[in-house]
């Protein structure tokens, strides 16, 4: 998946680091200090819609099935996450306990046109 460049209009992954300090959440999230909140943005022209090279994933297969079986408005192909990974968090709950858990689907790794 291409990482977005300023001049890239097409579907790409926009990398964005969120610092928990910036959210004012460092008092209860112990680790990590922040995380990579990537998201997908950009245009999906018709020739890229459902393109296997761009979005070869379970998600794109589902979108293709939906398109095949349902009336799908023209030009509604979207730039969507096609691969995600979990994020491990160590945080304090409201009772002051330390909790370590993996939160699924937190970090977008790849984007593609639906």
């Amino acid at each position: 998946t291409p990482t977005c460049e300023p001049e890239t209009p097409l579907c790409c992954r926009r990398d964005h680091y969120v610092d928990f300090q910036e959210l004012g959440w460092r008092d209860w999230i112990l680790q990590p200090e922040g995380y990579q909140l990537n998201y997908c943005s950009g245009q999906c022209p018709p020739h890229l819609a459902g393109s296997p090279g761009i979005a070869a994933s379970f998600h794109s297969a589902v979108f293709s099935l939906l398109k095949a079986n349902n009336p799908w408005p023209l030009g509604t192909s979207c730039c969507v996450p096609t691969a995600r990974r979990p994020l491990s968090l160590l945080y304090l709950d409201r009772d002051g306990n330390v909790v370590k858990t993996d939160v699924p689907d937190m970090v977008v790794e790849a984007c593609g046109c639906s």
Partner: protein, 219 residues
């Protein structure tokens, strides 16, 4: 949706202004984390554990242990109450509201024994359930004996801890010296360190209860 006349940026609409985009991303991050943790709002921490105690507890855990999918590992620090300080008996109270509706599969209690241990220390841990009568009911969770000072990890019977509906877990700690004739002279807090950075803590590993698990077991 960005408002009238514009479309979703992911579908090729106009990109919002950088400032607006940043605010949007931060709000998205907050919502994503809260949803991922099944919280409706950020926890307000009124009594955070002391940093030193926290650091010590984290160092005591198994290195590299990873929570299983959707599972959690919890460290809970004890609040100590002693119905009697003349006997080696204390009640350790833990507040575990996050562990409701989860399946507990591992529980260890960490205790710190004073360096000046004069003999063999014999420990018994009970789950304390206040019930009818003066005593309530007790379930034995672990027995342990040691001559070594320092930190000790007592594996608790997870089956003995299951079925706890209350978010407050009370463990009764009984200890005595097996050797020497110093039991009566030893105060409990001289055998076990239950204050400050050496507070006892509970290490739990839990995973979400599988729907239909009971049905599968019955089959």
């Amino acid at each position: 949706a960005q408002g009238a006349g514009s479309a979703c940026p992911s579908c090729g609409g106009p990109t919002p202004a950088p400032q607006a985009e940043r605010a949007l991303v931060l709000e998205l991050a907050k919502q994503q984390i809260l949803e991922g943790l099944h919280l409706t709002s950020r926890p307000r921490i009124t009594h955070p554990p002391p940093q030193a105690a926290l650091a010590r507890a984290l160092r005591r855990l198994q290195p590299g242990s990873v929570a299983p999918a959707n599972g959690e590992e919890v460290i809970s620090f004890a609040t100590i109450t002693g119905p009697s300080t003349s006997a080696c008996s204390s009640v350790l109270t833990f507040h575990l509201s996050t562990a409701q509706s989860h399946h507990l599969y591992h529980a260890r209690l960490w205790l710190h024994v004073f360096p000046t241990l004069p003999g063999t220390l014999y420990l018994r841990i009970f789950r304390w359930s206040p019930g009818s009568g003066h005593q309530g009911s007790r379930t034995l969770l672990a027995e342990h004996q040691t001559t070594a000072p320092g930190w000790h990890a007592l594996t608790l019977s997870s089956s003995g801890l299951r079925g706890e509906e209350s978010p407050v877990l009370k463990l009764q700690l009984n200890c005595r010296l097996l050797e020497g004739n110093t039991t009566s002279a030893q105060q409990p807090r001289q055998l076990l360190d239950t204050a400050g950075d050496q507070r006892p803590f509970l290490e739990l590993k839990i995973r979400p209860s599988e729907p239909g698990a009971g049905r599968a077991r019955r089959r």
